[in-house]
Symmetry: C2
């Protein structure tokens, strides 16, 4: 990221004015577009706001930008030709289209984290550096640097990785499958996107848990799907609710996250699993089982997936490397009938022409290495430790203000706030005090819920983060 | 890929029967689904067809599969429960949805190449192993193995790669830009997909070249766009045609591939570039410039992109690592106004949650290394050598049967066949004789065109491949 050179003879404000002029003239900020605020630019360039104000004054005097009180600073249109018609109306393109943006809260959280990396992060659903197998991955890459052909990979994903997954799924998840039933995807996210876009059709009704991370993914709505709710209690969804939704809305698919559900942390009970499989196979409805968290089980024995009990081929199974090792490699997988795998692999070619060969090789090697078992053990201990720290802090700071059920696996603690507080006020005040979390409404719940994710947070920050949150909450109650 | 164990005491047909039974029972082939043909399985397992026939007989006797003359072999439905209702109707899911599959010819070519890797390949638009910088990439990965945090990357793509691209684009493409105007994508393909899905809307009219690789991408139709043609002559498209299409259909965007166009190899003339930029900026229509081939220029000085002449911010520029170095790393880039980059980065989070960090690091390092210049030099020489071999063979074998214009860069030779021949017969007979190419109709052209791609073909195969093609063509004429 560009910053002004403090050793240069040229004044800081002049350097900034030059830099902004270049960005404007190369089309980054077209005529008529809004520039970032003085405050934001000052943060980015690591200078006082007054320096940015001077730079803006310089650009204004050259006719390059125009400011109007209350509506920010814009690139002037007169400077660039006779009429603003000369440049496409980019902002209309950026706002158009049927593909919905991410929820405002999630974009706000992303922006806050980008602006202030020292925020205490209870929002990001990923592992902290100390929980990821960084040294192991580095070692594998050093020892086995990629030396093969650098051309396009098999559309289904690399064969050695799929073969390693056949073994992993059998050993760790009780799933018997073959390489040709596996599609490698860019995390679970791409599996879900492909299902929503390429095997469902606009207008189709689908059932999802309530609350559910699916509500945080506008891609379901972008695909024109109609979403119906399966309320989650302490033992997961009620299988009979599926039958009721089928009768009423002819739902075509059920999306479930049965092991340490996101956001509630709930485990679907064994009894309900059997019932659920009976009902969906009776109705002929497929279930998409997203299973990213089960190997984080703090109880030692991870719950088995629905797919391992599926005798009628009703379950599409989705797994991922992200929540058990490293999200940044972007490796996930789907186990599905071959016709579905082939269809989705073909569609994916049109979207991105498949995944990079290098991370696929690394993950395949990791699964076949002796690193996997010890890493998972360390991960479970580390996550449980952070969960316990979080719960201790909450008991100390928020007693009587918050209710929750202790999860036995996963990355999330789902909390009900007893006082009645606006989601957006709570989030904005918390950001000001130096912490972020995800408001429950992002997951489709009523007001007054909060998801605290403890996987990314550093252990030494947890108590401080919760004490800041308690301060904000108490202030808002008053 | 599984093969029977020839050293085992268990008969080959029994091993195959067991293997297929497992794939059926784990849901890869659900009840009622069609199995691959005996011929295909015999090829896959590397056995005689009679061995597969015996394995099928075994499975039939167990009630697991059913064969009917003329309609192939299916997994039986009776075996798996009271009614076929018990399993979701997967084949209907595989066929449903509004997202269109790839053109039948492209799927046929992919299948033929998968079944017979010794086919002489004039179809794949990628570099052969000897033209890719394999040793350089391996060396970079050994020397600088990834040691940083393995979490999610910046949604726009990794900052070091974007900074390397700012320099590369300035030095090699005459484009001045900044890191915040760049979006890293999975090849050009993902840039095009994001534009089609997320800044255009169903019903929008867009202009594309005729012929154009855009016709090979049903994603434009899947996004509901209406496509209008700009005929390509020896100097590219006629700029005035854009105005005519705008008047008639209110086109909202123009997609161009002005440097060594795919499939025709044409270079848009300088005069037309200026005219074109004047017209689009007058009309306020953005141009998407896809520029994968220009650095392959055999003339020494690569043509400059439209973007480098764009003074009104009308051009969205797309580049890629695929055609100049390695397609398997899946790295491409888009240069666009910041509002567009931000919008597409947000949308992409919902599709795949961003790209893997490792290949981004490798490509960034490659661009900043001393490998880049010498590699490009070697690439140009290697491609020109293969182009010349191809043209020599065509002159020798196909004189009077074929017309073409010699391209001065790129990977493709676009040929008009003088005799009137069916595309599908020509392709099928060629596959039988051991070569593949892409029929011109895939690019929206009339019958009787062929695209020969010479980048993937080995030099020693080119003459043999063309003599086989000539044989097929002469047989079909008779």
């Amino acid at each position: 990221m560009w910053k002004p050179d403090r050793k240069s003879n040229i004044a800081l404000y002049e350097q900034i004015a030059d830099h902004l002029e270049q960005r404007i003239s190369c089309g980054e900020f077209p005529p008529g577009s809004l520039l970032p605020s003085e405050r934001k630019l000052a943060e980015q360039f690591d200078v006082n706001r007054s320096t940015v104000i001077s730079a803006f004054a310089e650009l204004r005097s050259m006719g390059i930008i125009e400011s109007r009180t209350g509506s920010g600073t814009r690139v002037s249109t007169s400077k660039w030709g006779a009429t603003p018609k000369n440049t496409p109306n980019w902002s209309r393109f950026a706002e158009g289209s049927n593909f919905l943006p991410n929820p405002a809260f999630l974009r706000r959280i992303r922006e806050a984290l980008a602006q202030n990396p020292s925020l205490i992060d209870f929002a990001s659903g990923e592992l902290s550096a100390d929980l990821a197998p960084t040294d192991e991955i580095t070692a594998l890459m050093r020892e086995n640097a990629y030396t093969s052909y650098l051309g396009y990979d098999n559309p289904q994903g690399s064969m050695p990785l799929r073969e390693a997954l056949v073994e992993y799924l059998n050993t760790y998840r009780g799933i018997r499958t073959t390489a040709s039933s596996i599609l490698i995807t860019s995390g679970s996210q791409q599996s879900l996107f492909l299902i929503a876009q390429c095997i469902l059709s606009p207008g189709d009704a689908v059932a999802i848990e309530d609350p559910s991370y699916c509500y945080s993914l506008p891609m379901f709505q972008s695909a024109g799907l109609r979403l119906f709710r399966l309320p989650v209690d302490n033992h997961g969804v009620q299988p009979e609710d599926i039958r009721a939704l089928y009768k009423k809305h002819r739902i075509k698919m059920v999306f479930l996250n049965p092991n340490y559900q996101n956001p509630t942390g709930t485990l679907l009970s064994n009894e309900r699993r059997k019932q659920l499989l009976d009902i969906v196979s009776e109705l002929g409805i497929p279930v998409v089982e997203d299973d990213p968290f089960s190997l984080t089980s703090y109880e030692g024995v991870p719950p088995q997936p629905l797919k391992s009990m599926d005798t009628t081929g009703s379950v599409l199974y989705i797994g991922s490397f992200s929540k058990i090792a490293a999200s940044g490699l972007r490796i996930g997988w789907m186990v599905a009938p071959h016709a579905i795998v082939e269809r989705l692999a073909d569609a994916r070619q049109q979207m991105d022409f498949g995944l990079s060969i290098i991370p696929q090789q690394v993950v395949g090697q990791f699964f076949q290495s002796s690193y996997l078992g010890p890493h998972l053990e360390r991960l479970r201990i580390g996550l449980q430790f952070k969960r316990d720290l979080l719960i201790q802090s909450i008991e100390k700071e928020l007693s009587g203000l918050i209710e929750y059920v202790i999860p036995n696996g996963g990355l999330h603690l789902w909390c009900k706030l007893i006082p009645n507080i606006s989601d957006s006020k709570l989030l904005e005040e918390s950001i000001k005090k130096g912490i972020v979390f995800v408001p429950g409404s992002v997951y489709g719940s009523d007001l007054g819920y909060v998801r605290f994710t403890f996987a990314r947070t550093k252990p030494e920050e947890i108590a401080l983060g919760i004490s800041r949150f308690a301060l904000v909450l108490r202030q808002l109650i008053e």
